[in-house]
């Protein structure tokens, strides 16, 4: 399991001594704590009994990075995998040690692809030091020693020892600088479908999430922020609830929220429900969803637009094309809806502030803590707690951490756990950007695609989150999957005359990085529109794509892999008397190439059934194939939930959807069979947590068109009937 951090352990132990409050807590065994043995280096601690603790800087939120990164370290370390556990270093430790663990940020499917090199070097360096320690003790050259599963042997003298026995000596050896990493073809642990390290505690209730945290003397807070974005708190009548059982304090939080602090969260929540609050709703009170739609629609024809990708002269080629096809698509705001609502526990004094929270970026959480606490980062600490889902909500913006510290500042010395209700979480998210896109295709007399113009109009994530990264009105992240080249997220087709531009239109709803980010809508736009072009010109959708993919062999390889697996070109077998139809999609994002083929049927009443999806991923190097399969399957749940139902709409300036009854998501009865093809072609490192989401919706939407002739251009699907006239 992952231990939680030195100071929090102390708190836990104190808490255990306090008695029944901690029933159900998993208190890390003392022997697992770092510090009982000196570390070999920042990444590796070896215990005298040969157990190995691998330090993990990135956050585990279900995506399996904890296990994958540990596999990479253990691969180079040559330790016994059965003896490996993990722990998080803290953000303040990273700061104090000159960022020895590098970046803590866990987003953009970067957990493994951005740190594989230095974590493997950490494992390799530790191995060299451990072997050197044994060689020094035996007075033999290290090169004559062999190591296997943490056992070091010297064949000539018949001597053997283990990592645990030489760990203390190894920790004193000067770290090597010349480190040669293994060729991936020689991997024994990495690349293998190993079981996750964090599964067992998740089946027994022992895994602690932020929402589960209990510290000695802790109080609980429930919060309500102004329901209208941009509004402010005017006043509240604390006296009206002061006599309620358990209520300790009612406090303003920043200038736009109020919190009730009570003995238990249920007391705080119910008291908050009864609290009279007067809001200044601000300038957005009259904004409706139709206003957002109209704002974006105007951008489709705007003269000013930032160019993301262009070659040739798309406008001229469209003007002179023998045939022109146009379509407008629309993608709504969506909430991340992590299963665990936002939460943080904070303890503030004038000298120090500590926060315990599930976060995708411990360093950003530390910065938010210090700012809200009015202290230096060196006076603060953040203990990362296991996340009950992240999906981008718990990464860039730490609004809930700021709130928790603002509350704790008003109760110095008392730990306060802030937990959002589902309703608060649903209406105060950082939403998937809203976007429209007009696509215009120019075709010559032979129906060859000669021009393509994509005009995006809509919200910029960077403008809302990192405005300093918007340059000359251009948000480069908007063009994810549409870029002219590069290893990250390039447009996968060659079109002679191409123009992709973006008219930025930012409604008042705050945007955020939402798993898959802008690749989601961009892939829908491109892949559904190419499908439209194929059908309008009576070309096979696969062949049309292939004709534009000569310069994109890796995109084509994943597309061909799914086409071959499903037997594209031959009809799919009927299911339950219903004809089954197929749709394709492919994209490049987060450094990986992905494709999908969906098989669906739609009955006469319009009921959609998604029977099977075949998906292919080329992520360069595959560290744990069974976890890649899990991410691919999960990506279909996330992407298809969004496609089927996901919409947060604006009513009177606020988000109309408040819980899973009004923001439905996919459940098991709608889940298709998923066949995952992992084809790591080597030579690069791609992410797997996000890219497949982008192909989920267009593959199914294209299959729906094949089944019904209905082209869905405005999401979600629940706004449309598939019933045929």
């Amino acid at each position: 399991m992952t231990t939680i951090g030195l100071v929090s352990r102390r708190e836990f132990i104190a808490s255990a001594a306090a008695g029944s409050l901690t029933v159900g807590f998993h208190i890390p065994a003392l022997a697992q704590q770092a510090g009982t043995t000196p570390e070999i280096n920042a990444w590796v601690v070896v215990q005298p009994d040969d157990r190995v603790i691998v330090r993990i800087a990135r956050s585990e939120m279900g995506q399996g990075t904890l296990t994958g990164l540990a596999q990479l370290v253990a691969e180079e370390l040559e330790c016994d995998w059965a003896k490996v556990s993990t722990e998080y270093p803290t953000p303040a430790q990273n700061l104090a040690r000159n960022r020895v663990w590098g970046n803590f940020s866990t987003g953009g499917s970067r957990g493994i692809r951005d740190s594989h090199d230095y974590v493997r070097k950490g494992g390799a360096a530790a191995r060299l030091m451990l072997v050197q320690a044994a060689a020094d003790e035996w007075k033999v050259p290290a090169a004559e020693c062999r190591v296997d599963k943490g056992v070091i042997t010297h064949a000539a003298s018949g001597r053997r020892t283990s990592y645990g026995k030489v760990a203390a000596a190894a920790a004193r050896i000067k770290p090597p600088t010349d480190i040669v990493l293994k060729d991936p073809k020689d991997w024994k642990l990495a690349g293998k479908p190993l079981a996750r390290l964090d599964t067992v505690d998740k089946t027994t209730g022992r895994q602690i999430y932020g929402a589960d945290l209990r510290l000695p003397g802790m109080l609980n807070a429930a919060i309500r922020a102004c329901p209208v974005f941009g509004g402010k708190l005017k006043s509240f009548d604390a006296a009206a609830i002061a006599a309620r059982r358990g209520v300790k304090k009612v406090v303003p939080v920043g200038d736009s929220a109020v919190a009730v602090v009570a003995e238990t969260w249920w007391q705080a929540k119910t008291a908050l429900d009864a609290l009279p609050i007067d809001w200044d709703f601000g300038p957005n009170l009259r904004v409706q969803d139709a206003d957002v739609t109209a704002m974006l629609k105007a951008g489709l024809d705007a003269e000013q637009a930032a160019v993301g990708n262009s070659n040739g002269d798309a406008r001229a080629a469209l003007a002179s094309a023998a045939r022109r096809i146009d379509a407008v698509y629309a993608y709504p705001h969506q909430n991340h809806a992590t299963m665990e609502p936002m939460n943080a526990t904070a303890k503030w004094t004038a000298e120090r502030c500590e926060v315990w929270t599930p976060t995708q970026n411990g360093e950003a959480a530390l910065a938010a803590t210090a700012e809200a606490a009015g202290l230096k980062p060196s006076q603060c600490e953040v203990y990362k707690i296991h996340l009950g889902g992240g999906f981008g909500r718990r990464g860039a913006v730490h609004d809930w951490v700021t709130q928790a510290v603002q509350i704790a500042r008003q109760l110095p010395g008392t730990p306060v756990k802030l937990l959002w209700s589902r309703e608060e979480d649903m209406t105060h998210g950082r939403y998937h950007p809203v976007m429209q896109c007009r696509l215009s295709a120019g075709l010559d007399a032979q129906n060859k695609l000669t021009a393509l113009h994509m005009r995006l109009s809509g919200q910029s994530i960077l403008a809302g989150v990192f405005p300093q990264n918007v340059r000359d009105g251009k948000d480069p992240v908007t063009f994810q999957g549409l870029n002219a080249g590069g290893a990250e997220a390039a447009f996968g087709y060659s079109v002679t005359n191409l123009l992709i531009d973006h008219a930025m239109r930012n409604p008042h709803v705050p945007p955020g990085f939402w798993r898959g980010v802008n690749l989601n809508q961009n892939t829908i736009f491109v892949e559904c529109f190419l499908d439209e072009v194929a059908h309008a010109t009576k070309q096979d959708p696969l062949e049309l794509r292939r004709s534009l993919m000569q310069g994109h062999p890796k995109n084509r390889a994943v597309l061909d892999a799914v086409a071959e697996r499903v037997g594209w070109g031959k009809p799919a077998p009927d299911v339950g008397g219903q004809k089954v139809y197929r749709g394709l999609a492919q994209t490049h994002g987060f450094g990986s190439y992905v494709a999908a083929c969906a098989e669906v049927s739609v009955d006469a009443a319009g009921d959609l059934r998604i029977h099977r999806i075949v998906a292919a991923t080329d992520c360069g190097h595959a560290v744990n194939p069974q976890q890649i399969a899990a991410q691919v399957e999960g990506s279909f749940v996330y992407g298809l939930s969004a496609m089927l139902y996901g919409a947060c709409t604006v009513k009177d300036g606020r988000i109309a959807q408040t819980n899973f009854d009004t923001y439905p998501v996919m459940r098991i009865n709608e889940m298709p069979k998923v066949e995952t093809i992992v084809i790591p072609s080597g030579g690069f490192w791609g992410g797997v947590g996000e890219p497949t989401i982008a192909v989920a919706a267009p593959a199914v939407l294209n299959a729906i068109f094949a089944a019904t002739g209905l082209r869905i251009r405005e999401l979600p699907l629940s706004r449309h009937s598939l019933k045929r006239a």
Binding site: M61, K192, A195, R196, T204, G205, G388, F660
Partner: protein
């Protein structure tokens, strides 16, 4: 003080009568394995057994329980995590973030008690819990494996022997 029969023992609490069972379990009895997800019986993260039936505890006032009713939470499903459903979950590496999985496991255990050989339709009807990570196919495979007493061939997963670790 009101009493509850939880995981084989009688526990006292002093929560207000309209407090949902979920919050009595979590805040009064320290049984945090049962999760809060929605508060309106939509997501199933709070699923526990009451007299063997899967119930969503977030919308059930504690005062609605009868004195003799027996509550089992994820912590009480088995003494050492070796209920057939838990074992199948580990075999298939079902959880991702894991937050919904206590509820999933409790729902699956109740289903298998009721229908030892559930069909896909039975699984669809009983397993209405929400998982945002998207573990549904492994949930289904693990339930079938638990029912059949063997691991399904769908996912190849290498398990290390950690008994000595």
């Amino acid at each position: 003080m009101p009493e509850l029969h939880v995981n084989g023992s009688v526990r006292q609490h002093d929560a207000e009568p309209d407090t949902p069972l979920l919050w009595v379990l979590r805040e009064q009895l320290g049984l945090t394995g049962t999760k809060y997800g929605c508060g309106i019986a939509q997501c199933g993260s709070c699923t526990v057994h009451i007299d063997g039936t899967a119930i969503r505890s977030c919308a059930l006032p504690v005062s609605a329980l009868q004195p003799g009713q027996k509550i089992v939470t994820i912590e009480g499903l088995s003494a050492t995590g070796d209920h057939p459903v838990q074992k199948a979950w580990v075999e298939h590496d079902v959880p991702q973030c894991g937050y919904c999985q206590s509820g999933m496991i409790m729902a699956a255990a109740a289903l298998l008690k009721d229908k030892p050989q559930p069909s896909d339709a039975d699984i669809n009807a009983a397993m209405t819990n929400i998982c945002r990570c998207g573990t549904y196919n492994r949930v289904r495979a693990a339930i079938k494996a638990a029912a059949g007493g063997k691991r399904s061939a769908e996912a190849i997963i290498i398990h290390a022997d950690r008994s000595a670790a």
